[in-house]
Symmetry: C2
Subunit: 262 residues, 2 copies
């Protein structure tokens, strides 16, 4: 016998013109915000909420779906509705492409994850030649064919990021970059060995709700947006030598940048 939700949740206000399911959502949200339900805690079941508020089940489900859309809770079939724990975030430092980080044997992702005590994995690696989209082609200065490297990154078994790198084919073909494992320091190290000394990166950051394919690939919970990052790498001659298109689970990342006050 679980204790009645009445101890934690108030009563509806029949005089309010706020819809009943919104009032219920408000109650639950407030209870979560105030710590009456902590991370990982189980909310009252739909049946209990129906009983407590004296409304129909669809009304209760409607309320819960609001909280799901806000990313506050997630439902587990057959078990219950739980307050979503905030997963540990991975901080992308602004110096993550500093040359000194490339001197080591492992990839930046691996080194950084292990330093943070997480278990890194790379997954779904795919290397192929393609005709680029108009956008990618334009960013690469009009390349007509590109080498694409796709891969998925996981932390402790959880997918957190899916990235596609595009390189002009004339630059990458028949080089270690076209190998699944490009070697220590990653493709940036190889690019520099090939004579393309990197000068700067440009990053564009957007946020949006994920497409269904992204929900699947990143195993995203309801109410989790994605950060869409497009990075272009330029060499010292001003040529765009790589475009990396990355989709990240927004609840797993915080991006950090340093801006000089010129």
């Amino acid at each position: 016998m679980t204790s009645s939700p009445s101890a934690l949740l108030g009563a509806l206000d029949p005089t309010s013109d706020r819809a009943v399911f919104r009032q219920i959502a408000d109650h639950l949200r407030e209870a979560i915000d105030k710590g009456r339900f902590t991370e990982g805690a189980k909310l009252p079941s739909e049946a209990e909420l129906v009983e407590h508020y004296g409304v129909s089940r669809m009304t209760v489900r409607n309320a819960i779906s609001i909280l799901q859309g806000e990313g506050l809770v997630h439902a587990e079939h057959g078990k219950g509705v739980y307050v979503r724990p905030r997963p540990p975030v991975r901080r992308l430092a602004s110096d993550r492409f500093a040359r000194r980080h490339r001197e080591q044997g492992k990839s930046a992702f691996t080194v950084e994850a292990e330093a943070a005590g997480s278990r890194p994995e790379v997954d779904q690696l795919e290397v192929r030649e393609e005709r680029p989209s108009q956008d990618i082609a334009a960013r690469l200065g009009g390349a007509r064919k590109v080498l694409v490297r796709r891969r998925r990154y996981l932390l402790d078994g959880r997918p957190v990021e899916f990235a596609s790198s595009y390189l002009p084919l004339d630059l990458a073909r028949n080089t270690p970059i076209a190998q699944p494992n490009p070697g220590p320091g990653g493709i940036y190290a190889r690019l520099e060995e090939l004579g393309h000394r990197l000068e700067r990166f440009e990053e564009e950051v957007r946020a949006r709700m994920p497409a269904p394919a992204e929900v699947k690939t990143l195993r995203l919970a309801a109410g989790v947006p994605v950060i869409h990052l497009i990075r272009t790498a330029y060499d010292t001659e001003g040529r765009a030598v790589e475009v990396c298109d990355t989709v990240m689970a927004a609840d797993a990342y915080v991006l950090a940048y340093q801006l000089p006050a010129i």
Copy 2:
């Protein structure tokens, strides 16, 4: 008499184990992606979809609510469900805090918006003294009281950003910074006049779904995340002189950064 949706939408697959409302959502999403419904176009009404698929209205509404959660469509009471137009985005360039931009009379937001042909407004301006949250205090090096400047930014009447600046009180009290209008070049110009020459900014970027208050302030549609940006400004002595906490409508912004390849 509107034309039947049958011309644009397929039929359900009864052998599929995908839920009916998901199949309907898939159909509509595909039709939108393929341009059979363009931006601003009206989807078939709930009644028409009920008729077309032979399902109950709740099932159709369930399907539509998926698309709303993805930010693809929005419903207008009494009118219909429309494909969400992508609003013009404001690009925040990485040099937006360059000193040369402060030399002019107007604020960065105003100058930039007018250059882009939009009508900028600043709104809900509030200046007050407060005890900072633990997080803000830590970022400001342990300040116990701060001056807070809050304001909302609008483009062409649409709220796009809500920002709060926090400055150590000992630094900002009885200066033009404590005035509602701090004068040409904004508070960064005033800080430099006060002897705090700015050296660098640190920005942290997160994305998440908005809290209800943010939905209201930014008049956010369903399925639009927010970008949460926290910027700390440091002077040449390494002191944190301002923290700016900004919440932006994610569909209105793209952030651009330049990273040197050191």
